[in-house]
């Protein structure tokens, strides 16, 4: 029991720290990447290659003046950024970062919690994430904030439907399991899920982008129309938390996509390589390599998110809703129908 608690505490702290670290350095990488695409340097003053830039930004946020609007609901105003960041981190508990390590015959999975309804838990957590934005926008007592909050929540609800149906197709492909670790483990033999679910992956990717409120879907904080959107009235570190949570969301959804559709810690010829290196099942070296593979995939997805942000301009609000309801939802239903037929011939479904 004591061992179990120590192991869970270590893994919780490590994954928490890694999420925050990656989120901090995503801000740096985002600016470097934007610089790359726009043919300029990006941050280059703080530290070598601007590597200390996230720390400088954090320090600036901490030392700024804190302003709470006089008429707002103070408790909810302070609660909102915290709530947003908590829900952003929460989905991270599901992600199986690598093959289980076995020490003295006990197997220790590199995952905080293997929930047997993990996929639905993921949908639940993303849908709760909207409360932070809504409460923040409303308690600011500002019309622009309220409009931003309402846009964000309408967008999240709309895109959740297509995302859910894309996930149903994915569940059918992975043989009816709802557990994240089993979905990843199923891709060990054979192909990654993206081979069987190309359309599903595209739908999920677009929805994930909309759920994380990233450009081109960042209508909630559209500067040209809404000043700053839901965080107009926020200042200092509360604003920092809102911006930070966006990067955590991006990190988690990249990890989810890499796990669901690109095999997670599996990679082609993994077993041949492990055998050639003479590694036993459950060795920590295998876990380390698997973790590395998963991490590289996640980082690639984060970069793709950024690449899209700096390439495609923001949608109009009616275009956003049309895309969600008139394109993605029918497409996801079509994908579900195709999946059922394909899986019937592959023998995953019996009638």
């Amino acid at each position: 029991m004591v061992e179990f608690i120590i192991y869970k505490s270590i893994i919780c702290v490590v994954i928490f720290a890694v999420s925050l670290g990656i989120a901090a350095y995503s801000t740096w990488w985002e600016r470097k990447f934007a610089g790359l695409l726009q043919d300029r340097w990006g941050p280059s003053r703080a530290g070598w290659w601007g590597l200390l830039q996230p720390l400088a930004d954090g320090g600036k946020m901490l030392f700024k003046e804190e302003i709470i609007p006089n008429v707002s609901n103070k408790f909810l105003f302070v609660l909102a950024p915290g709530l947003f960041i908590v829900t952003a981190i929460m989905a991270g508990v599901l992600i199986p970062w690598g093959p289980a390590v076995s020490i003295n015959g006990t197997s220790y999975p590199l995952q905080i919690s293997d929930i047997n309804v993990g996929v639905i838990f993921l949908l639940g957590v993303t849908s709760i994430g909207v409360y932070g934005i809504m409460i923040g926008g409303w308690s600011s007592n500002n019309k622009y904030s309220l409009l931003g909050a309402i846009r964000a929540s309408a967008q999240m609800i709309s895109y959740e439907l297509a995302m859910g149906i894309a996930l149903i197709a994915l569940i059918i492909t992975s043989g009816g399991t709802l557990s994240f670790s089993e979905i990843v483990a199923k891709q060990d033999a054979g192909f990654a899920n993206v081979v069987w679910q190309p359309l599903g992956f595209i739908i999920f990717f677009v929805c994930a982008m909309a759920e994380t409120n990233r450009a081109p879907f960042d209508l909630a904080e559209c500067e040209t129309e809404l000043v700053g959107g839901y965080h107009t009235e926020y200042s200092a570190f509360k604003l920092g938390l809102f911006l930070f949570a966006e990067y955590i969301n991006m990190f988690v959804s990249s990890a989810v996509m890499a796990g669901f559709y690109f095999g997670g810690y599996n990679f082609p010829f993994a077993h041949e390589i492990y055998n050639a290196m003479g590694l036993q099942e459950g060795s920590w070296v295998i876990s380390l390599i698997g973790f590395g593979a998963y991490f590289v995939k996640t980082l690639i997805f984060i970069s793709v998110f950024m690449w899209i942000r700096w390439t495609i301009p923001r949608f109009r609000y009616d275009q956003l809703m049309n895309l969600g309801w008139k394109s993605l939802l029918p497409l996801s239903l079509l994908n579900l129908a195709i999946t059922v037929v394909v899986e019937y011939f592959r023998g995953n479904i019996q009638f």
């Binding site: 849908s127 309402i150 959740e160 709802l178």
Partner: protein, 170 residues
Amino acid sequence: MLGYTITQWTFGILSFLAIMFALMVVFSRNPINSVLYLVLTFFCIAGHYLLLNAQFLAVVHIAVYAGAIMVLFLFVIMLMNLNQDSEPQKTAISKVIAGVIGGLLLVVLVGALRGTEQINLTQYGHSDIGLVKNLGRVLFHEYLFPFEIVSILLLSALVGAIMIGKKEIK
């Protein structure tokens, strides 16, 4: 701990919180606070489902009620911008009438509960009835017909909502 198991403690604390939040829904002056307390109540009830080993139900409860339905509630209440100034004044007579009706409802409920016999619940030790696999098997084998009826009901509600929400065709 005082002769109770951890499960019993969890049940007690969750029930206390659920009832407290439910009361706060009714008693809080601000409708936004009411909605947020209702969300907390749903979380407590989801905890109860977890105690019954019904993970699927618990997570769906959160995803559907807390995640979708209450967001829409919050949406509407935020747009209406209810606050103390715009709240309609209630006259004394309407308060009296509401009190009497509420009291009568309480009497009816208590009377109905008094007449019931206590049901002997069968206690399943580690029941797996709430897991997705078993739930699906039961729904699609034993209760297939009621399930289909419910889905038709939902479909007709959907069509109705779209009909009401649609613009007039000229």
